[in-house]
Structures are given as structure tokens and as C-alpha cells.
Symmetry: C2
Subunit: 387 residues, 2 copies
Amino acid sequence: MLPPATFRLEAVDHGARAGTLMTRHGAVRTPVFMPVGTQATVKTLEPRDLTTMGAEILLANTYHLMLRPGAQAVRELGGVHAFMGWDRAILSDSGGFQVLSLAALRKISEQGVTFRSHLDGSAHELSPERAIEIQTLLGVDVMMSFDECLQYPATEIEARESMERTVRWAARGLARRAELAQGGETVPALFGIVQGGTYPHLREDCAKALREMPFEGYSLGGLWVGEPPETSHALVAADTGLLPTQKPRYLMGVGTPLDLLQAVANGVDMFDCVLPTRNARKGTVLTSRGKLVVKNAAYAKDTRPLDPDCDCYACQRFSRAYIRHLFSAGEILGMRLASLHALSFMVRTMREARAAIVSGTYGAFQRSFEERYASGDGLMPALRESA
Amino acid sequence: MLPPATFRLEAVDHGARAGTLMTRHGAVRTPVFMPVGTQATVKTLEPRDLTTMGAEILLANTYHLMLRPGAQAVRELGGVHAFMGWDRAILSDSGGFQVLSLAALRKISEQGVTFRSHLDGSAHELSPERAIEIQTLLGVDVMMSFDECLQYPATEIEARESMERTVRWAARGLARRAELAQGGETVPALFGIVQGGTYPHLREDCAKALREMPFEGYSLGGLWVGEPPETSHALVAADTGLLPTQKPRYLMGVGTPLDLLQAVANGVDMFDCVLPTRNARKGTVLTSRGKLVVKNAAYAKDTRPLDPDCDCYACQRFSRAYIRHLFSAGEILGMRLASLHALSFMVRTMREARAAIVSGTYGAFQRSFEERYASGDGLMPALRESA
């Protein structure tokens, strides 16, 4: 049996890394931004939209899929790839974060978490073992250890207890995966998750414990939850400094394009974030020159594309005026075109970052990107109405 | 200056006709189903989806576009083709039907209609002349005369008054178009609309009056509003029997696939209807075997495509189980895939009808279609759960 996934580090430019994660569903070149397919769909988009923009891996949410349509149902329908018509790689989260943010009547113990579905109140259980079983049923390529997401702010005692539990849970997840593999299951790659809140010595303890375990990669959890940004970036740099260089690092649920590029500089390989698409569906899109609130009336006669530097279908074919009209008229196509652009932008930004790392020019690339992103050039509506 | 549109009748099989409407935005082969792009978008779909399925003409709604973004705004943005990124033909209605069904505080006189917008209460006016001006500003290929849509049921006196007014309005619209053309405007083709409710002699009077006027085509209005279906089809046959054979006939806002095929048999060339997509967005799609309510729980594990005889992306790539999941989860992609299939089915059905007419086998085609459509074959969910 092939190993579930292997990572090859191909170039390092100061701290920034370029690599390839080989999965059963193809190669994922890093650094990479993973579009979020919460309910087995990247909202408003089709698989062919995602392959066209060059996406090589998606994220799926274990919590959502275990509730609807159910992990066993996905298995019976051929696994999540066949179910959603996506034949490239898929990474899943463990469900822990959504249990904390969405589910009702949560009870957390050393054993795991019991909760009630936010959809219908039905009772469910997630544990380190169950999270592995569910993600294996889904048939993803890369799965996450079940971790306890700490609230921010937390006391040091709370953070330590939570981190130590996460380490124990990580070991239980690895053990359950080994059992499943021995039983003949095709098991996904498994990442351990560094927790410890914003306490550097706790995160250090966690990273040191996890790096001794046979994970295929490591995630950085519990960051960008309210702490100051300079703290976040310092903690990322500290975490990656302790993790094995030959394994991929995934910064979970972060963040702005500028955050991503700084995290790449600090040695992170993989990212996901719902904000680019969530904001797009509300009429605000990321562009190479900064944020553009396309739903604003000021764009009603602006014939320029959302982003003159973008080759996506939305930018090649439609004006800001038209997309603004779609939002104004409540037309779904507006959300779709804005989402298509926002993800094309994120995926391309990571592709360009990778090329810069390979050519040893990442520092200059990051500065140039930041300057252009801050410039706002061309974002202002035309000063006069066209005739 | 080229004429705005020309029609070439290419084959007649008993009453059914195959032809080509040449417009400034390409050829439209008839019989044809026109997807409805109410607010300058076919809901949930992109222009490239429509060209892929073979659509050669769309319908746009004058009432919606005159209110938002406004006809002058569309003109300034390069016309409705450039605005919505569609380079094939566009036909617009006159706005009369939506004024009747959507607008508030309508006042109808011989001059025209004043009303308030259903969006913001602003005051507007539509008249035979203004409707022509607006449709010319939009830059469509084919426009409609401003007509008065009769309520059903109507007395014969009401129907006669309304029909006679529609004829007078038709003449005023033609006159206004001639003025615009003389003033240098690129004017659309113009269709007259046969009214007269369900009174055969009134419709006959109307058709005879209109056929003496230099329209590029004729629409059949005021049908499928509540009268028995056999009455509808008899009125269609009577109308087409009176209209010039060398001009296209458009049956407005109708109907089921079976209605369309019967109307084709009775000499109609063009159709539009919102029901295939409106129903699709609610989870019911048309298929070659009849209607499929894909949102039903019974399809939760059905791995078959919506329609095994369809080559659209939705049917080639996704299962009923997945599309049902998307509806169940409230995901926009479900509405999009269902719409994509429904329109692909309608457009393909008309393309197949055309081929049958050209080969002189339309009667057999229609019977075979009706049998298959009534069969329900394969629509039932599998009787047992898959293992």
C-alpha cells in the first residue's frame, strides 16, 4: 500500500518554502490556498471552475458532512470525491472547531465531545477515534487530529490543560488510524495540530510532543482568534521553527492575503479561509489593488473589470457595473462571479508566491505585492459619469 | 443599412416549420426555445453556459431593465449585449405584461400606461412609442409592440376594446420606429402581437389587421392564461393559419414541453417560458422521462444523473443524490445545476424537433417524445438502499 501522502521540499528562500504534497488524488504544489467546500461544495462554484483557476486541493468540513448527508452515506456514494465530482485532493478538518462554534449542548470530557446538531437537535459524539473514522469514511486525502479549540482569551492553566489534552487526543487518533489501516482500510494522511493558545512555551511544548509522533504534517491551530497580529506572526514563526522541515505546515483558517504572505515567509505551506468567498457573496472582493466593494452605487457605470490583473472569467467578461447590477438586483450570478474572482485571486497569489520562492526572490515579491495591495490604484470609481 | 432581421423558412412538415432568423447577433435556428434573462441574467447561469447548450437567443424583460439599471444606463454601458456579456441574439418583451402583473397604481389610457415601480414606488410611463424607444436604447435584436394584456376571463366587449387598442398601439410603435430609424438609430426588428383573448373572431380580426403592417414577425399573446388547453391549441392553429408564412411566429410565455411540441405542429417558431428554470430553482427538473422532484428524500442515495439522455454538465458530472444534498443543504449550486439541466433539455428538445421537421418525420418525433415523457421510466428511486 502506498503511503497516504508524501511531501517533498523543493526550495527554501530564507524562511519561505516551496514543496509538493503528493496525494492519491494528485500533486498539491505549495504554498497553497485551499478553497473551502464546507458542505461538499465550494459555495456557488463547480469543480470545473476550481480546476480552471488551478486549485489542486479543497477543504471539506467534517462536522457539516457527518450531519448531512452523513459519513456513511458519503461512503456508500463512493466517497466525497465522487460525491461532489472533484478528482483532485481534499483535506478535511476534524470537526472540533465547528462543534465549538455551531453545535448545541456540548459536553467535553477526556473521552471526547457529545453535542446536538444545529440542524435538527439530533445527538452526536465526536472523539479522537470517531473523528478519524468519519474522515476515513469520507475518503479524504488528508485528515486532521481531533483537537480542542481554546477560547480566547484563556488563562495559562486553561491553555495548558487544553493543549495537553490535544496531545493525548493526537496519539489516540494515530492509534485508531493504525487499527483501521491494519483492518484493510485505505486511510488518509493525518496531521497533528499545534495548540497552546497564545502562550509561546505551551505551543513549544505541544510542537515538541507532536513532532515525535508519525504525522504526515502539522497544523497550527488556535491563532488569529483575537490576539494582536504581531503576536500571531511571532507564534507562527516559533511553531514552524520547531516542526520537522520535511513535513508540510498548515495554518488553519487564516486570513488576509497579507497575512498569508507573511506566514509563507515564516515557513507555512498550506492555508484555508472562508473570508474571501464569504465577503465576495456580500459584494466585497479582494483584488491585486486591495478590497473593492463592488455592490456600491459608485460602480454603477464603471466598465472596468473587478481586477485588471486577473485572468478569471468574471474579470475577462464582465464589468464592475454589471456585477454591481447583479448584486443590486439580488441575482445569484453576482455572488458566483465575485466568488470566482476572489478564489482565483487567492489561488494565483499562492502560485506566484511559489514561483518567487523557487527563483529566490520571495522577499521582493512580498514587498511588491504589499505595495500594490495597499495602493488602491484603480479602485476608485471614475470621477465623471460617462456620456 | 441592413434590415434589423430576416427570416428564411427552410422546411415545412405538415404544419411544423423549420427556419432561420438572421439577426445582427447571428443566426437563430427555429423552432427555438429562448431562455429568459429577466434582469440581464438567466438566473444562476453565465453566458458561456448558454452558448455551450446551444442557445442562440435570449429574452430580456423591458419592464425590469427600464427600472434597474435603466434603459439609458444600459445604452451608456454599450447596450444589453455588452452589459451582460452575451454576443448572440436578444429579444425583449414590451413591458406590458410585467406592468400588469408587478407594478402598482397603474392607469391605462389610450395614450399608454402610467405606473409606479414595484421596487421603489417611482413613477414611470410606458406607451407604444416609449416602449419602442426603451427597447431601442437597450439595443436588442427583436422587440415587441406595446400591447394591452387582457385579464382572463374577459367579456367579448372588453376583449374587443383591448384588441382594437393593441392594433392602434401596434401602428404607433411602427411609426415611432420609423422615426428613430430616420434619425439614424440602429433599430431592432419589431413583432406585432395578436390579442383578442379566447374569442376566435377577435383574434382573427387582430391577425388580419396586423398582417397588413410591416412587422418582421408576429407574437401570439394572451393565451395559456386559464382557458382549457384544447382551446389554447385551437387558437394557436387559427392564429398561425392567418399570419404570413414567411414571417416568424412567437408564442409568448408558453409552456410545458408537450405544449411546445404541439404548438410547433401548429406552426409556431419561437417560445419562451420561465417555468423550467423557476421550477428547477425549487428542486423540480424536466427530464426526457417527465418531471423529477430531485429535492425529495427518496433520491438521497440515487447515483443516477438527473436525465440519462442529457449531455449537460449537471448530468455528466453529478448524481441525483448530490444535487438532492445541495437542495437539502440550501446550497446555490443545486439551483444552478438544476437550471443548467432544465434549459439544456428545453433547448435540445427544440433542436431535435427542428431536425425532425427537416427530415420530414416531425409527427413520429412528437409521438415518440410524448410517450417517453409520459413513461416516467427511471424516475422512481431505487427500491433498495445500496449496500
